[in-house]
Structures are given as C-alpha cells and as structure tokens.
C-alpha cells in the first residue's frame, strides 16, 4: 500500500482519510440522532385524558348568599360563580386573561378583581381597568327545581 503525500493529492480527489471522516462523522450524527430523538419525545409529556365536563351542579339557590362569589371546579378549569344582590347568578371563567391568575368577586368594588396585577372586570366579565386584554369567557347558568347548574358556553 502506498500513501500519497498531501501535496501529491489532486484537487477534488477523495482519499481514504476523507472516506473514513465521512463514515465516522456520519455515524456520529446518526448516533446523536438516535439519542436526541427519544430524549425529546420523552420530555414531551404524554396527553393526560381529562374527563370532559359539560355541566357542573353547584347546589341549591339558597346555598350562596346574595352579593357573593365563589370559585368552582369545572373539569380542570376554575370558574367563578357570582350571585348578584338581586339574586341573579352569573358565571365566568376565573382565569384572568392577563397572566392566568384566578380572579375573585370583590363586594366592596362590586366587580371581579384580579389580585395579581389589579385587573378589574365588570359583572358581565368585561375588562374595564388594569392590564387584562380581553373579557372573561362567559359560562351559562340554568336553574331547575332550585338547583343551580353551570354549563359550558355552546361554541
């Protein structure tokens, strides 16, 4: 076997060394791929199936005081239910549209309030002051035989 010296190799000619380099670096890249692909798939959390909730019963009309609000679990989502001073029920998504904090009903303001950054919504869920960029999503209320049920708004 004779090896050509460096200066004897013509331009563009492939040498044994080039071949090995391609083989090794190709193999290395393939190996990295074989490690990185499972790694990234592993890190992506699998979809956890959540039982789909379409309605939640929150008890009798009399269970809630007038002029008060409470947070209920609607599947995985927090929902704020407000009983106005005239006895009317309203429900909104309780996740602030600003940065996802959970809002509360403030009797003293007569408004929905987000404590994180002083966001305020009126009692129709409209953002009226502070940073929230959008209104709270509305949920529907149905009252049957004095039982209050919160419904997901029909899309």
């Amino acid at each position: 076997m004779t090896y050509k010296k460096k200066n004897q190799i013509k331009n563009g000619e492939k040498t044994r060394r080039d071949f090995l380099n391609i083989l090794l670096s190709g193999g290395f890249i393939a190996w990295v791929g074989a490690v990185v692909y499972p790694l990234i798939s592993y890190l992506r959390p699998p979809q956890v199936e959540v039982v789909k909730v379409n309605s939640v019963n929150i008890g009798k009309i009399t269970d809630m005081d007038k002029d008060s609000g409470k947070i209920i679990k609607f599947g995985n989502d927090p929902v704020i239910v407000i009983k106005l001073s005239d006895g009317e029920f309203r429900a909104f998504s309780a996740s602030c549209t600003h940065l996802d904090c959970i809002v509360q009903y403030r009797k003293d303001y007569g408004q929905i309030y987000c404590a994180c950054h002083n966001g305020r919504y009126d009692l129709h869920g409209r953002n009226i002051s502070g940073p929230p960029p959008a209104p709270l999503a509305k949920y529907e209320i149905a009252i049957k035989n004095d039982e209050v049920t919160v419904y997901k708004p029909s899309a």
Binding site: P38, L39, S41, Y42, L43, P46
Partner: protein
C-alpha cells in the same frame, strides 16, 4: 480562517486560565502499557455508567412521584404512557447494575495490581467510599418503584441494619422513618437517592479523580527497578483517551442491547399485608452476604448467629478497606503473596455464594 478562529479562542482562554499548563500536563501524562493495561479501563467504565445514571435519573425525576400512593403508579405511567419511558427506566436499572459490576472489577483489579500502595492510599479509601455509596444508591433506588420485591428487600435490608449492637434500633428508625417500612421510608429513600447520595458521591468522585490526575497512573510492581527508558507507556492523550472512548462505545452498546431486549420489570404493587413471594432474593451484589447468613446457625455460643455474620462481614470489609495499612511488604518492594491469597479467597467466596444464592432457594 477556521484555524485562526480556534486559535484566537484558545489564546483568549489561555490568557485567562493558563491552558498551556493543562495541555503540557495532558501531553506528559502516560499510562503503562503491559499485559494488565486492560484493567486500567474499568475506572473509566464506572465513570461512564455513573454519568448515564445521572442523565437518566434526571429524566426519571421528571415523571416519578415519591409517595406511597403515587410512586408505583408513576412508574407504570413512565413505562406505559411516556414515549421511550420504558427505555429510560430500563437503561437506568441496567446501568445501575453494570456500574456496580464495573466498580467491583475496578476494585479487585486495583487490589491485585497493588495500586493501593503508597502514595495512593487515599485514592483507595475514596474509591472504597464510592463503592459503599454506589451500593447505597442501589439499595435506596431499589425501593423507589414501590413494588413487592422492593418492599421486602427494604424490610430485610433495614432489619439487618437494626440488628447491629447499640446503634441498631436508632439506625432502623432513622432509615425507615418509623417502626415499619411505610411511605415515610419511601420519602427518606427518595431524598437519599436523589439529593444526599449524589451530593456526597460527587465530592468523593472529584477527590478520587483529582488524586489520580495529581499522581499519575500506578505502575506495575516490578517496574520499580526499571529505568525510565525501559518502561513502555502510551500517552494518555490522545492514545489512551481514544481507547477509552472506544470501550465506552462498546459499553453503551451492551447497555442499549440489554435495556432494549430485556426491559426492566415491575412487579405487583407493594402491600404491607401480603406474604413475601417465594424465592425472593436481594439484588445480586447483596446476594453473597444474604446467602452466607443462611448457613450460620441461629446461636453460636451466646451470640446470635445473624449478628455474628453481620459483624463478621463488617470486620472482613474493614480489613479489606484497610489493606494499605496491613500490607507492609509491598511498599518495601517485596512480593506480598498473602494479599493475593486474601483477594482470591474474597472473589471465590463472593462467586460461590452468589451462585449458591441463585441455585438454592
């Protein structure tokens, strides 16, 4: 263009961190080349497997839940739902076992090559501590899936610790977080496995590696009277490093094959009110001790047999660890055959009792 760019970076770093010293150090570092050079790779293999353990362990923590109610379910979730979750768990379990094996081979080779002799006593001691920590990793990690085998292995293991005189009762409660193996034990073992042990391990591992870099590779006994020119060595960098990498590649392949084709199993969930399954055994690296305890009669004179066995192993272990102290011949350049006999006895004992443990119930 590229060359000068790399050069520039090197110069900039060199100016700040004096890389030249490091480079000349690496250039001069060499490894003795003779018939036993093969054994010099096992420390590196152990290190590789430890790195694999850290990487896969971090991945497992992302889904594992260390509580009595959720641990088993979270492992099931990793096995069944997470993409490649079964693979990561299988690699972690296999790599743990291979690491213990590599550490044992490393220790015995260092022992027989008398690499523990002056000036390398501290490297030996830190190595022994690393072995014990590795076994601690194995023991604590074994409980985490919270399956039946794990539960009983931990019951038995902590019970043995509880039989030690004076400190036994305290140790038992300390390990279990109460009288029995419960969720409290799981929490403690989880903390040990992912926080305390890794922290302590890294400290001793760093010392171990610094000692080796500082003193260079141990040379065989009979090189003592050789002239420098008669010694055959290979440079640590790049020759030995390239060999090292090649061996790492082989080990990674073995690991991948084992983990893929023999995925680690998960038994039924631990239940404190279910009988121990027939033929239950500890992990293989504890098996020789477990098996030999079975042969000791319940009472020897006035001492309980079990306790005698445990103390015996403790004493033997201590003598083994302290070998640099009682080996007075080797440092003087004489052959110390007793060392070899003791080592051969230890290996035969471990192998015979491990086999017995597997063959007999």
């Amino acid at each position: 263009m590229k060359e000068t760019f790399n050069k520039k970076i090197y110069n900039a770093l060199n100016e700040r961190f004096q890389l030249d010293n490091l480079v000349s150090f690496l250039k001069h570092k060499s490894v003795p080349k003779y018939r036993n050079t093969i054994w010099y790779y096992f420390g590196g293999i152990s290190l590789l497997l430890f790195i694999v353990q850290v990487a896969t362990g971090i991945l497992l923590i992302m889904y594992y839940k260390g509580s009595e109610d959720l641990a088993y379910e979270s492992i099931k979730f990793i096995n069944a739902k997470v993409s490649f979750g079964w693979l990561i768990r299988s690699i972690h379990s296999w790599s743990a076992n291979l690491m213990i094996l590599a550490v044992f081979v490393h220790m015995f080779s260092v022992y027989f090559l008398k690499a523990f002799r002056k000036p390398r006593e501290l490297t030996w001691y830190t190595g022994v501590i690393l072995l014990f920590l590795s076994m601690g990793f194995g023991f604590s990690g074994y409980l985490l899936p919270w399956d039946q085998l794990a539960f009983f292995a931990t019951k038995v293991g902590t019970d043995i610790a509880g039989q030690l005189p004076f400190v036994g009762d305290f140790l038992l409660k300390l390990l279990r977080g109460g009288e029995d193996v419960t969720g409290a034990t799981l929490s403690r073992f989880f903390g040990l496995h992912v926080a305390l042990l890794p922290g302590v391990f890294v400290v001793f591992l760093s010392l171990h590696l610094i000692f080796i870099q500082r003193q260079g590779m141990s040379e065989p006994e009979d090189w003592k009277n050789k002239k420098e020119s008669e010694k055959t060595t290979i440079p640590f960098f790049p020759n030995f490093t390239v060999h090292d990498l090649l061996i790492w590649l082989i080990v990674i392949n073995i690991l991948a094959i084992l983990a893929t084709f023999f995925p680690w199993e998960l038994g039924p969930k631990a239940d404190a009110f279910v009988s121990a399954p027939v033929g239950i055994k500890p992990e293989w690296y504890f098996l020789f001790m477990f098996q030999s305890l079975k042969y000791i009669p319940a009472k020897v004179w006035l001492i309980e047999g079990e306790l005698l066995g445990i103390l015996g192993f403790g004493l033997a272990g201590l003598l083994w660890v302290l070998v640099p102290f009682w080996d007075s011949k080797t440092p003087k350049g004489k052959r110390n055959k007793i060392i070899n006999y003791v080592g051969i006895f230890a290996i035969s004992f471990i192998i015979i009792f491990t086999i017995l443990g597997y063959l007999l119930d």
